[in-house]
């Protein structure tokens, strides 16, 4: 009840608009993959192509190594969980969950048993006889999940499933979705524009923009070592500082910036096409700033604290560098740090966490 998914050169055009541009992407069997990107990046189109609701303009999708060109959604080993849940409003919760098995010719009794089993799995056994309108948003969500899993798909497609829930419920459902995915072993492909949600549940994050795959990999890899500037910016707050490659040797690279020379380990360089004199972007995540001397620290010089705000888990500060006052850096400092507005501080960053990407 699980299968590998391979997108081969998938392209899709709406008239002149290129929604998807030759997507090549593999998702392993049993993997929880998240398609992440801003609205209009093509992630939902890609999902609908996989589900069979939209035929691709070019290319093919293989599910379990098999092509499903011209096969309607009802005959594919995929089911979709829609953003608005799309529950049948006139049927009870049980009838909703039984619908798929019944349509596939399973007897009423067996379908009912299966429905009970799945509703127990999503902790909704007591809603068996209720109608969807009697349930809360989170409960409808679970019914939709049970209904989609009732037909034992190889691949479950989730189209922004948590978008309508409040923050607390969303976090709870993220944990539950992941737990259920681990339990049933089905390949889950989940579409979202929320990078925190993606990091919370994904085995593999696929970052998309303008119909292309910008990056794909595990959450930590995509966040800490993004393949592109778009990925670096989309995955979370980041300071991008224009730099110019001045020299490179076996273990270190040296850049010129408006803050002066910056030496970084060779591993910081995430692109191998940079030549001497080329410009690039130095990326520093706000949490990689340091207030006190530590090992691997790299000084960027002296800065004035423009503002400092308490954010609960950290203090978010805006720093204006003395060497280049117009360039404001965003830094997160530990909760207990004592910094105040107007203070002058020496800015240091974690040398091993900074990275350099192409413009």
């Amino acid at each position: 009840m699980t299968a590998r998914v391979e997108f081969k050169q998938i392209g899709h055009h709406f008239g002149d608009f290129v929604a998807l541009n030759k997507i090549d992407l593999d998702i392993e069997a049993g993997e929880y993959a998240v398609l992440l990107g801003p609205s209009g990046c093509g992630k939902t189109t890609l999902l609908m192509i996989l589900a069979g609701f939209i035929p691709p303009t070019t290319g093919d999708v293989l599910i379990g190594g098999q092509s499903y060109q011209h096969v309607p959604p009802s005959k594919r080993p995929t089911t979709t969980m829609f953003q608005d849940y799309a529950l049948f409003p006139h049927m009870t919760v049980a009838a909703n969950v039984m619908f798929g098995p019944r349509m596939r010719g399973i007897s009423r009794q067996q379908a009912a048993n299966r429905a009970m089993e799945l509703l127990e799995m999503v902790n909704l056994a007591d809603a068996y006889r209720k109608k969807p309108h009697e349930l809360s948003g989170g409960q409808r969500q679970r019914v939709a999940l049970a209904r989609a899993l009732a037909v034992e798909p190889d691949v479950l497609l989730l189209d922004e499933p948590l978008g309508a829930l409040d923050l607390k419920l969303r976090k709870q459902m993220q944990d539950e979705l992941k737990a259920i995915q681990r339990k049933v072993g089905t390949t889950f492909i989940h579409v979202t524009h929320d990078q925190e949600e993606a990091m919370a549940i994904a085995d593999k994050i696929v970052v998309m923009n303008h119909g292309r795959v910008e990056d794909s990999g595990s959450a930590d890899r995509v966040y800490l070592r993004p393949a592109t500037r778009f990925t670096a910016e989309f995955m979370g707050e980041i300071n991008l500082i224009p730099v110019q490659l001045s020299s490179q040797n076996g273990s270190a690279v040296c850049f010129q910036s408006s803050f002066g020379a910056i030496d970084l380990p060779l591993t910081a360089l995430l692109t191998d096409t940079l030549r001497q004199g080329d410009t690039a972007q130095l990326g520093i995540r706000p949490e990689h700033f340091r207030l006190t001397d530590r090992r691997n620290a790299l000084s960027l010089g002296v800065a004035t604290v423009k503002s400092a705000a308490f954010f609960g888990a950290h203090i978010r500060a805006l720093l204006s560098m003395e060497a280049d006052p117009d360039r404001i850096l965003i830094a997160h400092f530990p909760q207990a740090s004592e910094i105040s507005e107007g203070e002058r501080i020496t800015v240091e960053i974690d040398r091993t966490s900074a990275f350099v990407i192409r413009n």
Binding site: K75, F82, D84, F99
Partner: protein
């Protein structure tokens, strides 16, 4: 000042409702008249004219004919209207705009023109006038109405629900019968009952297209030709009563359901 205004409001209300309902009240009141003329002074009450109505076989069979025509023609109109609405809402058709305009056009054409046109057509193709031709006439006038009501209730929200059904393995017919139609049931029922009331008291088309078996409005008309009589009041009251029953049915089925589904579906 405030008081003056509320007096104004109340008298305006009484005036409007009086204007609408006074004729009906008079009609119903004088159906219980004891004497031979439905004019003041009222002496009664008496049920003798109702007795006269129900012992008049022409009137009772016309009443039965009217019910049959209304119930069956509305069924057909609703079915056709639903199919048309489903087609327009769910498929991209070439020339959908003009076709949609054409299907709703009969709503704007006078019943006289439609009835006359049908009469000429039936004559031309050699179909003799009967309750069936009356029924066909009522299907013609009520299909656009049913289409408009059902079409208005089909939105994109249901589109995803139908997609989900298809995704779970249902074919086109199963989607339509098990998901779309039940989901739209409130508006289908509303269209049906509205269509029934329109057919129930429709006169011109029924008059032009019927011959020996007639519907109630046609029978009442021929009754009126022989002069005013409390019997016409009594039969008019029966017509009114049945219309009221249909409206109440509508109220209890649709608006109850509506109240439920408004609580976010």
């Amino acid at each position: 000042m405030h008081r003056l205004r509320s007096i104004g409001v109340i008298s305006y209300l009484l005036l409007v409702y009086g204007f609408i309902f006074l004729p009906v009240v008079t009609l119903v009141l004088f159906s219980f008249q004891e004497g031979r003329f439905p004019i003041p002074p009222f002496n009664g009450p008496s049920l003798k004219w109702y007795q006269a109505v129900f012992s008049d076989s022409k009137l009772t069979s016309a009443l039965f004919n009217s019910l049959v025509v209304a119930l069956l023609s509305s069924l057909v109109a609703c079915f056709l209207g639903f199919l048309a609405a489903y087609g327009f809402a769910r498929y991209r058709l070439p020339g959908a705009g003009p076709i949609k305009a054409a299907i709703t056009a009969p709503l704007t054409v006078s019943y006289l023109i439609i009835g006359f046109g049908l009469l000429v057509t039936f004559n031309m193709i050699g179909v003799s006038r009967s309750l069936l031709t009356v029924g066909v006439g009522h299907v013609v006038i009520n299909t656009p109405l049913c289409f408009a009501i059902i079409y208005a209730s089909m939105g994109d929200h249901q589109l995803n629900i139908e997609r989900a059904a298809r995704d779970l393995g249902a074919n086109d017919w199963q989607v339509m019968l098990r998901v779309t139609a039940p989901m739209l049931l409130p508006s289908i029922i509303a269209a049906y009952f509205l269509s029934v009331t329109f057919s129930w008291d429709e006169f011109i088309i029924a008059f032009l297209l019927s011959r020996f078996d007639v519907t109630l409005p046609v029978e009442i008309w021929s009754l009126l030709r022989s002069g005013l009589n409390p019997k016409t009041n009594a039969v008019g009251s029966v017509v009114f009563l049945i219309s009221v029953v249909i409206v109440l049915l509508l109220e209890f089925t649709i608006f109850r359901r509506g109240a439920l589904s408004d609580r976010k579906s």
